[in-house]
């Protein structure tokens, strides 16, 4: 019987200890710290290993320097677990003053619940530095609810040397693009490196071609199920485009079995002329390519010029900061959200971690040429549309990627692909 008593007392101690530590935490999140400073809590996912960690630290330092009476408590969480944490924090009404979140569908329910502060009035001050296109994914029901730091976009990376050697011009529309591919094939060069095993890589190309055929507004409303149908003719064109490219042998051999790493390695090695993926490739080109100066970047060609422009981009600001409606210091927190995103935009750009969403009004001569080029495209963008798999509900997104792979290996015809997509979106 003695045993039992020992066990129960151990258990009781453990429970009490847990209780104490729990209480300790609660105390910390009160509005004011011991030295009379206003304390603001910021949640983000830039853990020590994150590429943006230093950018955050710098931005926070800057803010604290210009606001002497404010102390920022920066709490970081691991990306995947944060998704659950932030959702439960919204549900339990335990949001910090300012928090990291993803724009678009992910934060829709937060805004709907009325727990996020509307920022239109505060935004006026920053309008000249942060374009409305950049924050478009944070506008819900016509009102702004957050601020963004980077705008990753899909672009066409290409090997300038291969284009020059074969006397081919960088294409700007579908006809030019197809001709370029044909010429490369005739000269024995693989035109496009991609991975259909890592489906998102192929989706980067298909997403962009769809955008360039359908146009941003229509694409958005169809994918968000806000009107229109996927069975319209323009949607078929991008699927047919993929099919045509497959049939002419434009993609790297065995793309269905290559991972993104393997396929992009071939591109860096000069075994493929083009690669369609996000702006983040600039960093890898710098480190992995033998001659980084051989590479160039361009917007993805237009299929239907009456619907879309060369400057319409897939991607856009998703990593954002929002302000809790429950914060005690509304003005200060709103300022913090804008200033931190501005700071992270700047320091993240300078360190090569991201494409800035905010205007570059500082010296960026140290930034590599390719990154600068992408940044220029991003700031001059006429529209941003989030990637299919971010924009659509997750179930639809998963099916989309499977359909796309089927289209690629030929088990779905472009027509069937379109009707499957339409069926999925009508569910």
């Amino acid at each position: 019987m003695k045993f039992k008593r020992v066990i129960s007392s151990v258990a009781a101690t453990a429970m009490l200890a847990g209780c104490f530590t729990g209480c300790g935490k609660e105390e910390g999140s009160a509005g004011k710290s011991a030295d009379g400073k206003i304390e603001l809590t910021l949640w983000s996912i830039s853990t020590e290993s994150d590429a943006f960690h230093d950018a955050y630290e710098q931005a926070i330092k800057d803010f604290e320097a210009s606001h002497e009476n404010v102390k920022i408590v920066h709490e970081t969480f691991e990306n995947e677990s944060y998704k659950t944490k932030i959702k439960s924090a919204v549900a339990a009404n335990e949001l910090p003053d300012v928090f990291f979140t993803w724009a678009g569908g992910f934060s829709q329910s937060f805004v709907d619940s009325g727990k996020v502060l509307q920022l239109d009035d505060y935004y006026k001050k920053y309008e000249s530095e942060l374009s409305r296109a950049a924050v478009s994914n944070l506008i819900y029901d016509g009102k702004l609810y957050g601020s963004v730091m980077c705008t990753p976009i899909s672009v066409m990376w290409y090997n300038q040397k291969l284009f020059d050697d074969n006397g081919i011009k960088v294409p700007e529309n579908w006809t030019e693009f197809k001709d370029a591919c044909q010429k490369f094939i005739d000269n024995g060069v693989t035109p496009i490196g991609t991975s259909a095993k890592d489906k998102w890589v192929l989706a980067m190309l298909h997403d962009a071609l769809t955008l360039k055929s359908v146009g941003p507004e229509k694409l958005y409303s169809v994918l968000k199920k806000e009107g229109g149908s996927y069975s319209e003719a323009d949607f078929l064109k991008s699927a047919e485009a993929i099919k045509e490219l497959v049939d002419m042998g434009a993609f790297i051999e065995g793309a269905a079995g290559l991972s993104n790493d393997e396929a992009s390695a071939e591109f860096y090695r000069g075994n493929a002329a083009m690669y369609f993926t996000g702006s983040w490739m600039s960093a890898s080109i710098r480190t992995d390519a033998e001659n980084p100066s051989d590479f160039g970047v361009a917007p993805i060609p237009v299929i239907n010029s009456s619907n879309a422009k060369l400057t319409d981009f897939m991607g856009g600001g998703s990593d954002s900061l929002m302000v809790a409606a429950s914060t005690e210091h509304k003005d200060l927190s709103a300022e913090l959200a804008f200033e931190i995103t501005k700071g992270v935009s700047k320091y993240g750009y300078l360190s090569g971690a991201g494409i800035p969403a905010w205007q570059v009004n500082y010296d960026d001569s140290e930034v590599p040429e390719l990154t600068k080029q992408v940044a220029k495209y991003a700031t001059g963008a006429t529209s941003f549309t989030l990637w299919f798999d971010t924009l659509m509900e997750s179930e639809d997104a998963g099916e989309y990627l499977t359909f796309l792979q089927k289209l690629f290996v030929g088990s779905l015809s472009p027509k069937d692909f379109q009707s499957e997509m339409a069926k999925q979106l009508e569910k």
Binding site: T84, K197, E262, G398, L401
Partner: protein, 293 residues
């Protein structure tokens, strides 16, 4: 001893820790999976009870293709039992007969079991690479260009291409089990057989293999249930693609739960896998009868 067995508290104390672990880690999650499988749930928002709809979709939905994954898993099970195990048995019999470097060969065959599957997967990815993979390069050197394939990228070859390393990897594992079994056969019996004029083949087939029956039964159960829940190698090599060609139930489950946030549907797959594993384990036990000693 008897005193302890009669002491209820002692029994409780000794069983309790293991029971807690067993119930908490195995029984409760199985029950919870079963409950989830009757709901439409994305993992975060409220669950919606939908009865057996998940199971109906499981067996009728063409885009999920669950029945085909079961066939793939069964094919793997058949290959394991009829190709992998005989190879293991042959190796075990050969090695245990006391050849030169017995320990060396045992280690060599067992190495793939020790190395992480992800590492082996990476190695096989290189072997299968259409451009510089040793398989295609070898075929080209032999002038068999027409035999070259994008092994993991074509629907016709992907399934076999992922099964090969899966089978190869565990040859050593089953070999070790059988080797231990062969070694435990009393030398007296073998000697007696030899005196009676039995040759090596007869000793193996008439004496050792029958005595190995319990071990073989275990190996068959491991091979079959292992095939039904095969995951890691396939996930590394193809992720179930292209177009579900190499999909097995567990890769489908992962893509449903983590790719599409369909926890309810994924749980239905999980429950089906558990059910199939139990079913085959019991069937095999019934089929291969062994005498209890």
């Amino acid at each position: 001893m008897d005193k302890i067995r009669k002491n209820k508290l002692a029994i409780f104390l000794f069983i309790f820790p293991a029971a807690v672990l067993f119930i908490g880690i195995i029984i409760v999650p199985i029950i919870m999976s079963a409950i989830y499988s009757f709901h439409d749930w994305d993992g975060i928002t409220d669950m919606k009870f939908i009865g057996v709809k998940n199971y109906i979709e499981l067996f009728t939905s063409e885009s999920a293709g669950f029945p085909k994954t079961i066939l793939n898993a069964l094919l793997l099970a058949i290959l394991s039992v009829f190709i992998q195990l005989p190879i293991s048995l042959a190796l075990a019999l050969r090695i245990s007969r006391g050849i030169k470097g017995e320990r060396f060969f045992m280690t060599v065959f067992f190495i793939p079991v020790l190395i992480s599957t992800v590492v082996i997967g990476q190695l096989w990815l290189k072997i299968y690479n259409p451009r510089y993979g040793i398989l295609n390069v070898a075929l080209e050197t032999l002038g068999l260009d027409s035999w070259c394939h994008t092994w993991l990228g074509e629907q016709e070859t992907a399934l076999m291409a992922v099964f090969m390393p899966t089978l190869w990897q565990y040859v050593g594992y089953h070999m070790l089990l059988m080797y231990a079994g062969v070694k435990s056969v009393s030398p007296d019996v073998i000697e007696a057989a030899k005196i009676d004029g039995a040759n090596g083949w007869q000793v193996s087939t008439r004496i050792i293999i029958p005595l190995l029956k319990p071990v073989i039964k275990i190996c068959v159960i491991f091979a079959v249930t292992g095939s039904l829940k095969a995951f890691d190698m396939i996930y590394v090599l193809t992720g179930g693609g292209p177009d579900h060609a190499s999909e097995v139930p567990s890769t489908l489950m992962v893509s449903m739960i983590f790719g599409q946030s369909r926890y309810g549907f994924g749980s239905a797959i999980a429950v089906s896998i558990i059910f199939l594993c139990f079913f085959f384990a019991i069937v095999i036990k019934r089929c291969i009868k062994t005498e209890e000693y």
